[in-house]
């Protein structure tokens, strides 16, 4: 079972206490966006074998949305961070680089 630390209330939460919310850091396209941009926003996902960034909600806790950095092939958790950001914070990225040199995810590394 996954255990993620909620970055808001600090609780080490079991998977059963959380709701998965899909891929993180999507650009939410709106009116005026091109068809391609809207198509990618709605349907295209990174689905990586390896490092991934996701949204989770501490549903049966403080109720807040947060982000997690996780490996989809080993289930290793690299860290969690608050949702008020458009990209993963530097310390999380450094931690991933240490564990998985050469990783990429979209334009981040």
């Amino acid at each position: 079972m996954l255990i993620l630390q909620c970055p808001y209330c600090g609780v080490m939460a079991d998977e059963t206490e959380l709701s998965p919310g899909g891929e993180a850091h999507l650009t939410r396209e709106g009116p005026g966006a091109s068809d391609d941009a809207f198509h990618d926003y709605l349907f295209m996902r990174e689905n990586p074998k390896g490092v991934h960034f996701e949204r989770w909600r501490h549903a049966y806790g403080c109720g807040k949305w947060f982000h997690a950095a996780r490996c989809t092939t080993t289930l290793q958790v690299f860290g969690t961070y608050k949702a008020q950001t458009t990209e993963p914070p530097k310390d999380i990225r450094d931690r991933i680089t240490k564990a998985r040199p050469g990783w990429t995810w979209r334009d981040y590394a």
């Binding site: 079972m1 899909g22 891929e23 349907f43 996902r45 689905n47 990586p48 991934h52 989809t72 289930l75």
Partner: protein, 414 residues
């Protein structure tokens, strides 16, 4: 290929079973093939088989990174049905189910198709309306299903508890000619028939790159060297995204874990397949006597082919309420597979941005039942460039808003 028959068994009995051939030949990759299929699971082997049988294309290699049929073909709950709501789904799943009816004879390999009947329980008012609608849709599609009463449910499946405290059984969608088959035998039977047509089935050969030139596929790089091809079919379920990445395009797919489990074997007590979608559980009894149980998929991306305890707990808790007699059963084994989920929960059988490269993926949690139909349609698409069976399942349906929305129609289990 020596045919399997009662006579062959008698013949071999008299000579200490020394005359049986290997079911398929061990092959080394050639430099070039007309068609390369990546993935020797049910769908990939079925595609190769119908390429040979229906279109005479036999210069074919099927590449498999592990062992044949060791992915989701060996990790499902073997349920076969075609009671889908949308027309394109009903067409391809019913084609598939009807091919299963004679598959053993066609392949000369006993796939143990058992049309024991599949019932999907209606346990809420919403489900009653939903399944009645599906039954009407099926009548128009020529798929034989009916909506049955709780009394008939009890008659067909005596171990069921109709008056469960949370979710009483209010009726069911019943497909009499649905059922199960022996999952490994389906892969093995297709492999044997492909090998017999002269195709190369190459195991332990992982594709590491897709070579293209001017937007056209040239071949693949593998752990056993470079192999050229005129056409490439990719049929790798949960790992489709990785293969698409090699050819520099993206897929609207996410890979998650789906798990199942079996109990210790018990005496025959249930001769139908029961699916309870409201409570996320389905169950049938295997020929060995084990209760085969499946549940919901994980909600997050995962490539580990493992399951998680809380999903087992959820599934079993729900089923114990519907089948109180299983409460004392010990669970024997549990396994997980990586399923490829699309946004509308329908598969993708399509051309791709790379010319002569084709994808067959997105079967999500319900691919086993579709193996023969998927192979039939995908072989037609690869051989001729057109297939009525696959037309609606193209990759551009997401851009154009032509969803085949089974995520709403099928509820949960799919």
């Amino acid at each position: 290929m020596k045919r399997y028959s009662a006579f062959a068994i008698a013949r071999e009995a008299f000579r200490a079973h020394t005359g049986w051939d290997k079911a398929w030949a061990r092959a080394e990759p050639k430099r070039r093939y007309d068609v390369i299929i990546v993935g020797a699971g049910g769908h990939g082997l079925a595609t190769a088989y119908y390429l040979g049988k229906n279109f005479g294309i036999t210069n074919v290699a099927v590449l498999e990174k592990n062992w044949l049929g060791g992915g989701n073909t060996g990790r499902n709950t073997t349920i076969i049905r075609s009671n889908y709501l949308q027309d394109p789904s009903a067409a391809i799943y019913e084609k598939s189910r009807s091919l299963y009816e004679h598959l053993s004879q066609d392949l000369n390999y006993n796939v143990m198709f058992s049309p024991r009947g599949v019932m999907m329980l209606a346990q809420t008012q919403h489900e009653i309306r939903g399944y009645q609608r599906t039954a009407h849709a099926n009548a128009l599609q020529g798929v034989k299903t009916e909506f049955i009463t709780p009394e008939r449910v009890k008659e067909l499946c005596p171990i069921i508890e109709l008056k469960g405290p949370r979710y009483p059984v209010l009726g069911a969608l019943w497909q009499e000619r649905g059922g199960t088959a022996r999952h490994d035998a389906v892969a093995w039977g297709y492999a044997r028939a492909c090998s017999d047509m002269g195709m190369d089935i190459i195991q332990n050969c992982e594709v590491t790159g897709v070579r293209t030139e001017a937007g056209k596929v040239q071949g693949v790089s593998t752990t056993l060297g470079e192999i050229d091809c005129a056409k490439l079919g990719v049929v790798v379920a949960g790992h489709s995204g990785a293969l698409a990445d090699m050819a520099a395009f993206r897929l609207p797919i996410e890979s998650v874990a789906l798990q199942a489990l079996v109990s210790e074997p018990i005496k025959p007590c249930m001769d139908v397949v029961v699916m309870a979608n409201t409570v996320h559980g389905y169950m049938s009894q295997s020929d060995k006597g084990e209760m085969v149980i499946g549940g919901g998929a994980d909600g997050y991306n995962n490539y580990t082919q493992r399951g998680s305890f809380h999903h087992i707990e959820e599934t079993v808790r729900a089923l114990v309420e519907t089948f109180p007699m299983i409460s004392r059963l010990k669970m024997l084994r549990q396994w997980g597979g990586i399923v490829d989920m699309t946004g509308d929960r329908s598969p993708i059988l399509s051309k791709t941005p790379v010319e002569n490269m084709f994808m067959n993926c997105g079967w999500g949690t319900g691919g086993f039942k579709a193996i023969p139909g998927s192979g039939w349609g995908f072989a037609e698409l690869m051989a001729t460039g057109e297939s009525a069976l696959c037309a609606e399942f193209s990759l551009d349906r997401f851009r154009e808003g032509r969803f085949i929305d089974e995520s709403v129609a099928a509820g949960v289990a799919h």
